[in-house]
Symmetry: C2
Subunit: 418 residues, 2 copies
């Protein structure tokens, strides 16, 4: 680069750096990628490019609205992270008095740690790493586990888990919060519907799992024994899957222990959904994480918001607000909870198709139906009607399958009986 | 059943039958399952249950709003179908002067035939049957092929194909219309995204196929040689896939033959989409059905409407209206075409992700963007920004990927350059 050209380039770089540092988000330029904070950079007339990492050093590309381009080299990332109470830590290292929760390290009191963990010693599981965010409060309190993505395409739960992990201030926490945003790691990038592609099983039907079982059974066993049962409370976030729509609801299971059941009901009520499913003690759909965790002594619930594989902000925000309310109810965060208790449905009736064909759903989620109402029909692939679908009970439509491609005995929708 | 009870039951049955026969849809009680015609039964206070078939006899369950139940036995299905110009025919039988189109039988002039066909002699292909609807006009004219579902979860095209097949009156047709609603039969009930589960390939990249190739290559070869090239015109209906949203557009390829190109442009203009992609003669995405059909002498286009695996009525209706307009333009149906010609984009730029992660799209389909605008970002699974996505060209966003789960080099969105 010639002398004058180089001088001009350096001047441009200096100007861009100065403008970036004037932004409100100056404590971490990467925060500019967050939708909320991006405004600060936009107001300064700057667009952010990709972040590159070279050991301790980070570089972020900048482009001014004038078309000028430059780089902001961020040399002090480690120090600044520490100032923000955030730090990347090596797996299996413990930094706080709490000690690691299985393979997940917990940072020092008042800090946040993010990273990945795996289940060591099992070659099948070790192929994957799982993301985590751990928040260690400065005051002793309960340990709360927040999970999502046990069904890999239920994205609102995943996004909300990540958002909570980044926005809760560790110094505002009483106790410890451990967040695993994506449980079904094999299925995430495959966009698997319902199942885990390692063995084709629904991970949320396999708990408590088996130490020497299939991939999913071994995962369930180790997640439950090494992480879930080390926590006092667990919230498993779901959504309608890639082919499902739903109205927000919570599911929980009572144990017969009045003290624990009271805590579970308080958690469910704090989420703020209109509907709740109280699963039968026998369990129609056995092997769910929340249900088995409850039986193992953890106060656990499942919460549903969103669906169809879409990151709709309202659905993400409902999960964030609902879990924040639960954390307040448990005293992990401070603040007032303003949520109405849900209506508990009498049963959770899943309607299946007697034939394979194209399903035309005639009801919407949240709609009231009466027993024997026509709620949809199935045609063959040239449009001949082959089955009329009627409501088995009176109640509210809690979820519908949005894909019209239905196998024989395939799931169509579910009604919460009233 | 006791004497009096039986008499009461028979009276109920008679009343229900009489009311059903008063319905507008009396020519075929199964038509009551069609959304449009269901109203006739609803007005009569009747709900339809499943249809059962026993040889020539059909039974349909009825329920009156009073709660009474009965059965309507429909003994004369064959005769009535014939009256409506509709008839199920055995595969490979030819009923009209046109002769079968490969494995698809064509009915007598002025009739409609529906059924399934297969590709005989290939055990891999013969595992499946494909639905078809064939309409033989009473006046000679061109043969038009309407296909959908080459991507199995693009449901609006499938639904629109079936609807056209059931609603176009054969006696209003000049020439022959052959409809195959679902090309990717292996993927349909599996809800496969992009690919065919028999070999994991995208069927719309495999044409002209190979006689002795993979499942998809053999399917492409036989579809092209036995059916597509026997037609004068072909319209392949698409939508955004299960994880895509899009603004309606058409794609076509010119051949250099002015007469055929003029027909193709008239077809594309008649569809009524706002945007058109004219693919380069070299073909950036080779092996598409419409493009290879065009090179083989068939005037073919591809039309996109809808997406996200949703049967949104507006998107289905756009396909029905668009193809009806094309049939009018070709003189196969009579009537005036009222469609505005689309704006042709300069290029069709697919944007991919430099990294694996969670994609947050910052633009909507149909939105105008300028080159180098920030159009999205990718974070890792704990929310750290790892890439900013910028527009490679100025233009209109034609489709976006709605799933945030993106592999390295995974598709994010496409821009039609302006």
């Amino acid at each position: 680069m010639g002398g004058e050209l180089r001088q001009r380039h350096l001047r441009t770089q200096r100007r861009l750096r100065a403008r970036a540092h004037r932004c409100r988000a100056r404590d971490d330029p990467r925060a500019g990628h967050d939708p909320v904070r991006h405004d600060a950079f936009a107001r300064a007339g700057l667009q952010l490019g990709p972040v590159s990492r070279f050991g301790q050093r980070e570089q972020i590309c900048l482009r001014a609205s004038s078309g000028q381009e430059g780089r902001l080299v961020h040399l002090h990332a480690q120090r600044r992270w520490r100032e923000r109470g955030e730090r990347r830590v090596a797996p299996a290292a413990s930094l706080s008095g709490v000690g690691p929760i299985g393979p997940i390290p917990i940072p020092r009191a008042g800090e946040r740690a993010t990273g990945t963990f795996t289940f060591a010693g099992d070659p099948g599981l070790e192929k994957y790493d799982w993301p985590y965010i751990a928040l260690a409060g400065q005051v002793a309190g309960p340990t709360v586990l927040i999970t999502a993505g046990i069904h890999a395409a239920e994205y609102t739960g995943i996004e909300a888990a990540i958002r909570l992990g980044r926005t809760i201030r560790p110094d505002s926490v009483r106790g410890t919060v451990v967040i695993i945003p994506v449980l079904n790691r094999p299925g995430f990038y495959e966009r698997s519907i319902y199942v885990n592609p390692e063995d084709g099983d629904n991970l949320n039907r396999l708990f408590p799992g088996k130490a020497d079982g299939s991939w999913g059974e071994r995962f369930a066993h180790r997640l439950l024994t090494e992480i879930v049962t080390r926590c006092d409370h667990a919230i498993d976030r779901h959504a309608g899957d890639l082919v499902e729509d739903l109205v927000p609801f919570v599911i929980y299971r009572e144990t017969g222990d009045p003290t624990r059941d009271a805590v579970i009901v308080r958690m469910a009520n704090a989420y703020g959904a209109a509907w709740a499913v109280k699963s039968a003690p026998t369990g129609e759909r056995p092997g769910s994480l929340y249900a088995v965790a409850t039986l193992a002594g953890v106060a656990a619930i499942l919460a549903e918001s969103g669906g169809r594989g879409l990151l709709i902000e309202e659905d993400v925000e409902r999960h964030v607000r609902g879990v924040t309310n639960i954390l307040k109810t448990l005293g992990v965060l401070s603040g007032r909870v303003d949520a109405k208790a849900p209506t508990i449905v009498k049963s959770f009736d899943w309607v299946r198709s007697p034939v394979a064909g194209m399903f035309h759903c005639r009801v919407r989620v949240g709609q009231s139906v009466k027993a024997r109402d026509l709620i949809g029909d199935v045609t063959d692939l040239v449009g001949e009607p082959i089955a009329a679908i009627t409501a088995p009970v009176s109640g509210v439509v809690l979820f519908t399958v949005t894909s019209p491609a239905i196998k024989k005995d395939g799931l169509l929708l579910a009604i919460g009986a009233l």
